[in-house]
């Protein structure tokens, strides 16, 4: 009985195996892309761009990641790819130090490694596709605010906290841009919302009543934008006081369509995925080397490189016209 079963198992295995191997033989360059979590709509939209790049370049794209943001799983996936002998690994690191061990091992075995979205340790990868510099974000926000208010009048800011490093950095560039280019605009208040939508709403309500001449509220943390929009809507100031800021399309769609929020600023995640794949393939083909100053990525054109960071460049503005094309 057991013998029969064993024979059956073996026969089945061999049969299946021959079917599978028959369909597998091709010799394309293999690029493996590792998001922080593969179910996250943000990374799914990155993948859309990556798929497009893979098609244009004629490479095979593997896209796998933890189902939740799990640093240990990321390492296991990279180790799996090392023994599969992929050519390029592109990673958005969940844990900077943790993943670097596995990435160094990959590099040692001849695999080219780049990072995108969230960097690893610098010695564990060759390039980082950087989606947003503080300067790019600061200038993008300020320029858009100026465009919405015809470069004059009072505006206020809602930030996550007054101390967080990235917020301080963005604020610094916003204020520098304001001073340099928009003398008729005045920043009247900066309020923290602790990264909470409710707090952002109450702060915005307070701002509205304290500053009757306010023309615009800029929120530079993602819960801040819908929070401020809700406050403006409830105060019946829709259109009179404009709302814009740094955020994700989905949580702002409602307000954008209702005309409360004018612009939501972030980067184009599809372009991020597209650029990451192009950069990875160029590194593997030895076309992109250390010290390069620019890099041309297919239909997206040329990007600047600072040090070992490939810059995605200008932020992307989501508004009534395009926000429905994005789902994250």
């Amino acid at each position: 009985m057991k013998k029969i079963l064993l024979h059956l198992c073996t026969a089945g295995a061999v049969l299946l195996a021959s079917l599978v191997t028959a369909s597998a033989a091709d010799s394309k360059l293999v690029v493996a892309m590792l998001p922080k979590s593969k179910g996250n709509a943000y990374f799914i939209s990155c993948k859309a761009g990556a798929d497009k790049a893979a098609k244009e370049l004629g490479i095979q794209l593997l896209f796998d990641g933890p189902t939740d943001s799990n640093a240990a799983k990321q390492n296991e996936i990279v180790e799996n790819w090392i023994t599969l002998g992929v050519d390029v690994i592109a990673v958005a690191a969940e844990n900077k130090e943790g993943i670097s061990t596995a990435l160094r091992k990959a590099r040692k075995s001849g695999i080219k490694v780049i990072t995108f979205d969230a960097d690893a340790m610098t010695d564990a990868r060759s390039f980082f596709v950087n989606q947003a510099t503080p300067e790019g974000i600061g200038h993008g926000l300020m320029d858009e605010a100026a465009r919405l208010t015809n470069s004059e009048g009072e505006f206020a800011m809602i930030v996550a906290s007054l101390t967080a490093a990235n917020q301080r950095e963005w604020q610094k560039h916003i204020e520098a841009r304001l001073k340099e280019k928009y003398p008729k605009m005045k920043l009247v208040a900066v309020r923290p919302c602790d990264d909470l939508k409710d707090k952002a709403q109450s702060e915005a309500t307070a701002l509205l009543s304290a500053n009757p001449k306010l023309k615009l509220i800029m929120a530079i943390c993602s819960p801040g934008v819908p929070g401020a929009a809700e406050a403006v809507k409830q105060a019946g100031m829709t259109g009179k006081v404009k709302v814009m800021g740094l955020g994700l399309p989905n949580e702002n769609k409602r307000y954008v369509h209702a005309g409360v929020t004018d612009s939501v600023i972030l980067w184009n995640t599809g372009d991020l995925g597209y650029l990451a794949i192009y950069a990875g393939v160029a590194v593997a083909k030895d076309e992109l080397k250390k010290g390069a100053k620019t890099f041309k990525a297919g239909s997206l054109g040329t990007f600047n490189i600072v040090g070992d960071n490939i810059l995605l460049g200008k932020p992307f503005i989501f508004n009534k016209g395009n926000i429905d094309q994005f789902d994250f």
């Binding site: 057991k2 599978v20 191997t21 593997l62 796998d64 640093a71 023994t83 599969l84 844990n95 943790g98």
Partner: protein, 329 residues
């Protein structure tokens, strides 16, 4: 024995279907020695937890808390070393003691208060994970461990992944305890009939306490190996590992109702799951679908249900025959 054939078939299948030659003409995938070492390396932590669970399940108990305890011990180890300034060996030693103490908490609640193990360890399952998260505020990750420590998790010693030696040593120790000592016999007796064991004069409380303390100790060993493999200690370490470990134990023929079970069986169970999980990730079809993780969950479940069905099938069949041939009354 059935499991051995399943494992062989599984391995053979992946060897044939999961091995390819890449662009550079190098053989890659399942059929490489590196891959086999990877499988061994990745099985050590779940393997240790399965070893810890086998005596527990033989006594008709369960310990759901060991995955969480792995996380807690990883954090404690990281904290003792990083914040406490202890050298690695001292921090590791202390972590083992703390793991045993945590196991002792389970043991006390189960033996002194006679609470059901399922409920007690369901409680400590949340408690240990919660503690780990509280200590790190859910955000601190301990990293930058010295090279000499990472050697335990990432390098090879005498040809095998370093941690495999620890795994084998623990397997041997637990195997001897379960199969070659009177303790092992006591575990089985308790699993079959706890009241009977008590009347027979067995120190049931102390024997039960032993299996839970041992489970805590082994979970701490797994935590240190886990930290060394990834080079990081984070509060979510080992999430869900207890379920894989239970699956491996049951797959290995240990009865979930207690009384019977074997360490070699558990090792086979661990191997069957590890090969399945690792092999799937090598299949071109699965890779093209980007679904290795989902498939491994699905097939591990299917494998367990099949094994369980196969194990009870002979009994059901013979019952069925017996009832058909029974004389009419």
């Amino acid at each position: 024995m059935l499991l051995l054939y399943v494992l062989l078939a599984e391995w053979l299948f992946f060897y044939v279907a999961g091995t390819t030659t890449n662009r550079r003409g190098v053989i890659v995938g399942f059929g490489t020695l590196d891959r086999q070492f990877d499988i061994l390396r990745h099985s050590c932590e779940i393997g240790l937890l399965a070893l810890a669970l086998t005596p527990v399940i033989i006594t008709a108990g369960i310990d759901l808390s060991i995955g969480s305890l792995l996380g807690l011990c990883a954090i404690l180890f990281g904290k003792l070393w990083h914040d406490g300034g202890l050298p690695i060996p001292a921090a590791a030693g202390l972590t083992l003691v703390l793991g045993a103490v945590a196991g002792g908490l389970n043991a006390t609640l189960i033996t002194a208060l006679r609470l059901p193990p399922l409920i007690v360890t369901l409680g400590t399952y949340s408690l240990f994970r919660g503690l780990a998260e509280a200590i790190t505020h859910g955000s601190i990750t301990y990293t930058d461990f010295p090279e000499s420590f990472l050697f335990v998790g990432q390098e090879r010693l005498l040809g095998l992944p370093t941690q495999a030696w620890i795994f084998f040593a623990v397997a041997l120790a637990v195997g001897l305890l379960v199969h070659r000592t009177t303790f092992g016999r006591a575990f089985r007796t308790i699993g079959l009939a706890p009241e009977g064991a008590r009347y027979a004069g067995l120190p049931v409380g102390r024997r039960l306490a032993l299996v839970y303390v041992l489970a805590g100790l082994i979970a701490a060993i797994a935590a240190i190996i886990y930290t060394a493999r990834l080079g990081q200690a984070k509060a979510d370490a080992g999430t869900g590992y207890e379920l894989f470990a239970i699956t491996a134990v049951v797959l290995g023929g240990t009865s979930i109702f207690g009384g019977t079970g074997s360490i070699p069986g558990t090792l086979l169970g661990v191997a069957a799951i590890a090969v399945l999980k690792n092999g799937l990730a090598c299949l071109p079809v699965v890779m093209a679908m980007n679904a290795a993780e989902e498939m491994s969950g699905l097939l591990t479940g299917a494998l367990l249900l099949l094994a369980l069905t196969a194990s009870v099938l002979p009994k059901i069949l013979s019952n069925f025959r017996a009832s058909r041939h029974a004389p009419a009354t």
